[in-house]
């Protein structure tokens, strides 16, 4: 480095301790936020592999079962993680799921709209709700915890009241028949890689039905969405300018603002992100069940936040990982379904969820201190 001779201070001024070696690649890896979640996921699989290995949990049908639950949770967990990195919370995700479901079902069944139009309607409402959450938080400076908590009640109440008003009941069935031939619905309702399962079935590698077709027919749409969203969000966080802005907004919003980061715009877009993710979740669910229900999605925001925390996101913002949240969702999805293969009372799942979160937060705190240790 020819610039060394021009430096105003010598290396020894700052780096007094020459015993410090070059930071090894392994150490860098160990400091990554998603390490905990990945480790947890591996542990969970080993555990269930030993305990429930021959119960059918790891048959093709069984794997798709817990993968579907994990993927659905993962969709909202990834969005919640990005928002958390940006320094905010969205407690209204669960209510948005219920609300979006009704936004799809009521127009389609009661007002005669084509299904694709209802779906677009639901997503437009998501953008509005997300924008509203964001603008409130940014303009008033109130903690997002409170603002979105209020939204949780408002949305759920509106969902119940409007549905009862228009339909007289709390469920809206009858959507399954509308999926066929709809130009948009298939994106949220189609199993993929069917050819792979047919082939595996023909080779007798997976379980078959009585008519010879494979029991597991294809990859559920939730899994594809999950993978796509995980890739996109990781790319955004790691490789784009906008991603740097997200970290900055969560890490030090005033400082970031002072150097020109549009913190307000970033946060609003992240709130829109969580609302849209909730709507993706709702659309997949509504089309899968063929009906919408006003109580769908209750408490899901807490699971999403738990998955994000397990994935390495700091509650205070500025640090975390979307991939970590994805692993967190896989952990919870696998355990929530895996527990049914054992003799353990399923109520213990809630205990597990809480305990896992506690462990993750303590671990994350430890990592954060290591990462920001100053000499």
């Amino acid at each position: 480095m020819s610039t060394k001779s021009k430096s105003i201070a010598s290396k020894t001024d700052f780096n007094q301790d020459e015993r410090l070696q070059k930071v090894s690649k392994l150490k860098i890896l160990l400091n990554r936020p998603e390490l905990g979640a990945l480790g947890g996921a591996i542990l969970v699989f080993i555990f269930f592999g030993i305990v429930a290995g021959d119960t059918g949990m790891f048959s093709a049908y069984g794997i798709l079962n817990f993968l579907d639950v994990s993927a659905n949770l993962g969709i909202i967990a990834i969005a919640a993680a990005m928002l958390m990195i940006g320094g905010e919370f969205d407690l209204s995700i669960g209510s948005m799921i219920g609300f979006a479901g009704i936004c799809i079902a009521i127009p389609a069944i009661y007002w005669g709209w084509p299904l694709w139009m209802s779906i677009i309607f639901a997503f437009s409402m998501a953008v509005l709700v997300g924008y509203f959450n964001g603008i409130l938080v940014v303009r008033t400076g109130l903690p997002s915890f409170i603002v979105t908590l209020a939204m949780l009640f408002i949305l759920r109440g509106a969902t119940l009241a409007l549905t009862r008003l228009i339909t007289g009941r709390t469920q809206v069935p009858g959507l399954r028949v509308l999926i066929e031939n709809d130009p948009i619905a298939w994106i949220f309702a189609t199993d993929t890689f069917k050819w792979l399962f047919t082939w595996l079935g023909s080779m007798n590698l997976i379980a078959l039905r009585t008519d010879g077709t494979p029991l597991a027919t294809g990859i559920p749409p939730s899994v594809i969405w999950f993978i796509v969203l995980a890739i996109i969000s990781t790319w955004i966080l790691m490789k784009t300018r906008y991603g740097n802005w997200i970290f900055a907004s969560g890490g030090d919003k005033n400082g970031a603002n002072n150097v020109g980061v549009p913190v307000g715009r970033v946060k609003i877009s992240l709130f829109i992100g969580t609302a849209v993710a909730a709507t993706i979740f709702a659309t997949i669910q509504v089309l899968d069940a063929g009906s919408a229900d006003t109580m769908r999605g209750t408490l899901k925001e807490l699971e999403a936040i738990a998955a994000a925390v397990v994935g390495g996101c700091l509650l205070t913002g500025g640090y975390g990982s979307a991939i970590g949240a994805a692993f967190g969702a896989i952990i919870f999805g696998t355990v929530s379904m895996g527990i049914f293969y054992t003799d353990v009372d399923t109520d213990w799942f809630k205990v597990f969820l809480g305990a896992m979160m506690l462990v993750a937060v303590i671990f994350n705190n430890y990592i954060r201190r290591k990462v920001t240790e100053s000499k």
């Binding site: 430096s7 700052f14 300018r241 900055a248 002072n258 100053s374």
Partner: protein, 264 residues
């Protein structure tokens, strides 16, 4: 008059009934290090925030390079080349050196609509600039939190300079540093000035300010007690002005008088 980079003419700022600044005048040339001294509550923060575009002055005018200027937002000031380094440094300790260095001004590469953050280029530049101040960044992705206070201060200053600051406003850069680290930062400031930057150094520590400053402005309760060239003022005089020296002198006289009267 126009060889002054920055001129503050009769600036006043009120917050409701509170007079934060009254009739403050200050001028700065290229390459000049002006130390802004004053006790707590003297109005230093308000003054630099006005220069940084956070506040708009209620009276008076700001002249940049001979032109009257009004700042609508911090971004305006930044665009005009006035870079302010606040006490919190605007650094996110959890983020890497590179990401902090280029925060808000990330270099991009790639096709339109798919532009990505050019991390390789950013890493290179950041490591280079850090090296110039003597900081060896072993791992470009190491978090700023692992750096010492002095290193972080130099990082913030280096960032400001890299992005084309013409005027560097530093808010208490050495207050939280030990003597050794403070001296490194001060050396860097002198180097920056020698390359043509104008520097306003806010501090309440005269011992740090006196060696590096070319001129000194003392604020007391929102008013300027005057701007002095180094050759026209001593360290002790500055100290006493800051502590409200004239009033203390008066107090001393009064106490002597009281003593004399009581022993009669």
């Amino acid at each position: 008059m126009s060889d002054y980079l920055v001129q503050f003419n009769n600036i006043s700022k009120f917050f409701g009934k509170v007079i934060a600044l009254k009739d403050v005048t200050m001028k700065l040339r290229k390459g000049e290090i002006m130390c802004l001294l004053g006790d707590n509550g003297a109005g230093k923060s308000t003054l630099i925030k006005t220069l940084a575009g956070v506040h708009k002055p209620d009276e008076g005018e700001i002249i940049i390079e001979g032109k009257k200027t009004i700042f609508d937002s911090p971004k305006d000031a930044l665009d005009m080349g006035i870079a302010t380094v606040y006490q919190d440094l605007a650094l996110v300790s959890l983020m890497s050196v590179t990401r902090n260095f280029f925060m808000g001004r990330e270099p991009l590469k790639g096709p339109p609509f798919f532009k990505t953050f050019d991390i390789e280029k950013a890493n290179k530049i950041a490591a280079e600039r850090m090296g110039q101040i003597g900081i060896d960044v072993r791992d470009p992705s190491q978090a700023v939190g692992t750096m010492s206070g002095g290193e972080r201060q130099c990082l913030a200053i280096s960032r400001a300079i890299y992005f084309g600051a013409k005027v560097l406003v530093l808010d208490e850069p050495t207050s939280a540093l030990g003597v050794h680290q403070a001296s490194v930062v001060l050396k860097y400031i002198v180097k920056a000035a020698s390359q043509g930057l104008a520097v306003i150094l806010i501090t309440h520590n005269v011992h740090h300010a006196y060696p590096v400053g070319n001129s000194f402005t003392v604020l007391n309760r929102g008013k300027s007690l005057g701007t002095y060239e180094k050759k026209n003022i001593t360290r002790e005089k500055l100290l006493s002005m800051m502590a409200g020296g004239e009033e203390l002198d008066k107090l001393e006289v009064e106490l002597k008088e009281m003593n004399r009267l009581s022993t009669n």
